[in-house]
Symmetry: D2
Amino acid sequence: MKNTFGTTVSVTIFGESHGPAIGAVVDGLAAGIPVDTAYIAQEMDKRRARGDGLSTARTEADEVEFVSGVYNGHTTGTAITMLIHNRNTRSKDYEKTADLLRPGHADYTAYAKYNGFQDARGGGHFSGRTTAAVVAAGALCRSVLQTKGIRIATHLSTCAGVRDLPFSAQTEELLAQQQMLNEKNFAVISEAAGAAMQIAIRSAAAEGDSVGGVLETVVTGLPAGVGEPFFDSVESELAHLMFSIPAVKGVEFGAGFGFASLRGSAANDAFRMQEGQIVTATNHNGGINGGITNGMPLVFRTAVKPTPSIYKEQQTVDYKSKTDATLQIEGRHDPCILPRARAVQDAMCAIGLVDLCTQRFGIQWQVQEG
Amino acid sequence: MKNTFGTTVSVTIFGESHGPAIGAVVDGLAAGIPVDTAYIAQEMDKRRARGDGLSTARTEADEVEFVSGVYNGHTTGTAITMLIHNRNTRSKDYEKTADLLRPGHADYTAYAKYNGFQDARGGGHFSGRTTAAVVAAGALCRSVLQTKGIRIATHLSTCAGVRDLPFSAQTEELLAQQQMLNEKNFAVISEAAGAAMQIAIRSAAAEGDSVGGVLETVVTGLPAGVGEPFFDSVESELAHLMFSIPAVKGVEFGAGFGFASLRGSAANDAFRMQEGQIVTATNHNGGINGGITNGMPLVFRTAVKPTPSIYKEQQTVDYKSKTDATLQIEGRHDPCILPRARAVQDAMCAIGLVDLCTQRFGIQWQVQEG
Amino acid sequence: MKNTFGTTVSVTIFGESHGPAIGAVVDGLAAGIPVDTAYIAQEMDKRRARGDGLSTARTEADEVEFVSGVYNGHTTGTAITMLIHNRNTRSKDYEKTADLLRPGHADYTAYAKYNGFQDARGGGHFSGRTTAAVVAAGALCRSVLQTKGIRIATHLSTCAGVRDLPFSAQTEELLAQQQMLNEKNFAVISEAAGAAMQIAIRSAAAEGDSVGGVLETVVTGLPAGVGEPFFDSVESELAHLMFSIPAVKGVEFGAGFGFASLRGSAANDAFRMQEGQIVTATNHNGGINGGITNGMPLVFRTAVKPTPSIYKEQQTVDYKSKTDATLQIEGRHDPCILPRARAVQDAMCAIGLVDLCTQRFGIQWQVQEG
Amino acid sequence: MKNTFGTTVSVTIFGESHGPAIGAVVDGLAAGIPVDTAYIAQEMDKRRARGDGLSTARTEADEVEFVSGVYNGHTTGTAITMLIHNRNTRSKDYEKTADLLRPGHADYTAYAKYNGFQDARGGGHFSGRTTAAVVAAGALCRSVLQTKGIRIATHLSTCAGVRDLPFSAQTEELLAQQQMLNEKNFAVISEAAGAAMQIAIRSAAAEGDSVGGVLETVVTGLPAGVGEPFFDSVESELAHLMFSIPAVKGVEFGAGFGFASLRGSAANDAFRMQEGQIVTATNHNGGINGGITNGMPLVFRTAVKPTPSIYKEQQTVDYKSKTDATLQIEGRHDPCILPRARAVQDAMCAIGLVDLCTQRFGIQWQVQEG
């Protein structure tokens, strides 16, 4: 349904980069969920540009305004609408080059789809700006999961060619990593790797270029039995959401593409009893068998392409005159979107999991004790 | 919606491996589409096991019975129901080991979700058997696309560690590759690579083991402007469907995870005019910008894990007694699912594209001339 | 979604009157629900034609064949597919008059929608025959509701101008009426009224004519708090389903159109405490306030038009020649559909309520004790 | 989906009576539709309270603020979000009697559903206030229909026991009636009937009471072939939407409940050729056969109950203390909602028809010439 996703809990995203506001409607959250505006602001802050050379100079306060569905600090059970106003827009940056299709962007495809009526300023509806609304919606959903002991954390697994340390296979250590990552703005397990990434990003930026990478998410505390086959497997639902994030071009679960070079005997995760619980000795399947959670940590990765907005001169086409042309982009852009995109990935993951858990456990589960 | 997917064209999948039949309901196809049963049989045949050492000895005729929605050789415009009867079932193969959770399978998660009421015979609803219904549904959808000049082809890009030749960047050559692949049962571009793959598969099978790989699909002839942001991008829709295929654990578009090591200047696909058309010089984005087709070939790959059913002894848990155990699987299984799964991937792709094209162009587009 | 309806529990209906079979896929029922085939057969029997002068001479055994989703006498939690084969078809009855649009039928509108590719035999997809699949699906849903103490009963409130006695306002008496109605094939509270109706129906049939009426349903045992505003109110959901029944042209809840002549002071249902429960002194709102159940009996009525298939000569148009014509219908038809349609209304009601209750209480509610 | 409705064109409604704003997201409108803010304001004005003794003294400017999806005076093709701020709220009116359940309102059912977390001020999400957002969304949809020659008009068929003149069976006269009604705030065909209705409304108001009635809508210019069986018939879709309007308790199409007393020979609409077109001699079926439009005027009526907010003393229950109580309502209320509700009915009708027409003709139909 285009701008709406979800079965029991649904999210509708709207807005354009240079319009009055972007926002989200979240429907299907139970009545009585505490709305922690400080927590939401903290999540919004992780996605916020800082103008620090790692992200765009377009910095926005990104305050979330609640229009409906929240009363006396709690959800009312009806549709929750959140607005985030666009304040720091400089549409003039785009005017000079408005007819030059930016490579790697949706400029051309938006023309093909919307016949020239799209709001092209700053990428319009296709801008990464819309993901601020995702983060707001996700923060609401995530706060529900946290009361259930379901924890999400994402790190820059690879960025600009630099690799972070992996998530730990030990539960205690993994939980500590999750907490640490959720307190960081630049989400890496290894500070050294993070420093190297930042150098590499600044180096690319200095050349007017951009870099990509891989974001890895791990979810702990998910009970076994969540997911809806045939079509609404955990993988299908989460991949659907992840591929809605601009710049995501790949999604893999567990060993993912690494499965291609494994034999079944190495790929299969042996079951075993541990303290009365069924667990698996390895977790190549990333916590999912047959599309349903098995109680092990849920693990997935996304491939994030380098920001297409680069300052180097590029070959392109002038859409109006239908002639070849060269483009020198202006405006304010991120040389690397990963440090901010991790907050969007966390949020999308939370949205998907609240929906799947509510399908499995019912809406009252969201506010039940224990 | 669990077993139903799609907005304007929807598919509902039902059935269990050892039940009376599996099947599909396809809704939203226009009235008047010719139903070519020979073509459907040919597609079914590509997914069929041959008992040739590359695939399971459970061979099924897989005849498609039309229950509704087809009259006088054409679609009527109402829901089309297809049944494929299960004939060659040997449920006894599973009885001895019924309580031993098969690693890599949905046995445990099905218990967690269905409280012991699942039909566990042969994997039940989680069996790859259900994908026969997908192929039948997909063949209907694909025949619509073909009248529009939209061609789908999938090859075993990598299998058992052996790499096939890539798709060509030249249009004529690419179209020829597509045609060739669609005429083959073992879908490789390079016969030599195919031979090496078959040797590697048989070698693994001889050891009671299994292998995985990567399936790559290319779609030609798709017009620009197809896809529905924010949530129903081409990537989101196709990934949703691909991850519904049992054993798929990764999906990537264009350069996919390869984007992680590219800079923006190398990753961006420059636009240029070619014979009056806007094209891109490279196709790292796999024919999609901002979730919408740009008229270039659509390219994606799936990571297919090695079949979890292997004959080697495995460590597991006895679900009833909740104790550690060892498992020696019997039954009839594929040492490698890729040669058959390519037909499922083609079908899923066709289902997704017919839905997206119908959203863009309307239901009558399906039967319009030209 | 055309042939699929429902959010947490969905039903897909397929089939044509003279095709091989009609059927339904029910998705979203919990694993472990006992499938009582005798009960389903009993409900099917209520919809069955008897060839007794009150209903069509086309009598079908209407055995329900389970294709998927049921194992060992219980639901498995996956999609349940049921088939009902068409055996007693006489397509030749329709051939002579195939181009003459039957007044009151969908012949013309099917042409307009399906461009001549519809299966017109016996009305095809528009035949009341498809409602056999609704009854099968509804029987499954209803058996879930019954374990929760939620009882549905429908009577012929008015038929052929004869009025039945009303439902009682006394709980005990109402429950007794429900039970009595559910044991009857000709569902009236007053035997005398029923006898008069049957005479009136036979009298119309003798003249080659048909009659309509009003079916009234009451549901007891529904807890307060069920229903999903804004759009998925109990009224919206049930009316959506009721208007899917061929021949239903009106739906009203509680006082319904009678509200038009009431003042607010007479229409409002006063709340009062009764044995520790909040009840209403009257029930003009039919158990629903603001689209949500209030714990009082749910009451609604449908207007069922007289069967359009009559044997009297009618004025019409020859679709092929586009000329005025006269039509003398042959075939086998019901002079009054109400005695059979009440089973369809019960079924549709059960489908809607299981979906709404599952949205409110979760899927496990379906199989919970108490 | 609770607060979202529609397949190809969907509308999401949000907001509470005394919250910051109410609003709607409309998704699925084509790019390039002119947005006529004056027309929207005119439709909003028809729903606006005037404080004239016929409607509540709470008068709101009801200016529609576009947050997304509109640029340069045209739709962009992405989600359109509209806000209508609540300015004239007097929540104190409700404080004194907050625990006293208002008869005929959703106070009790909201408690049952939302466990006390609902925003009860002014009825919150259940207030008729939310229908202002419906009117805004409907005006957008209606402007699309008008460019296709599809005209909607609604009149107070019966109000306070006074009956208006019927719609004409003559096309020219009917079109003139439609135009006249759409220019009126008090939508009656007969000025004399309107004057009598106003006297009756004021008379009830003077007694602290309220009145109901029947709203009748006729749509002209709809092509044959619109509507989606089995479940998404024109009747099902429109009834679903109509029953979402607070206070609507009945919906009937064509002869509706009048069918109950007709024989088939009188009820059937004979087909005939007229100027090369297939028409029906009568229109008892209200322009719909088998759930699909037949090209004749679409006719339906809703039963609107008297406003439950009356100033007479009422018997009720104190929810907190669970004791019987008496209630004397304060606040500002409409003695009759019909004069304003007709604008909501027009809007809902437009929403449903744009969705159904887009399913049939495709999204580009919305902006095609002719």
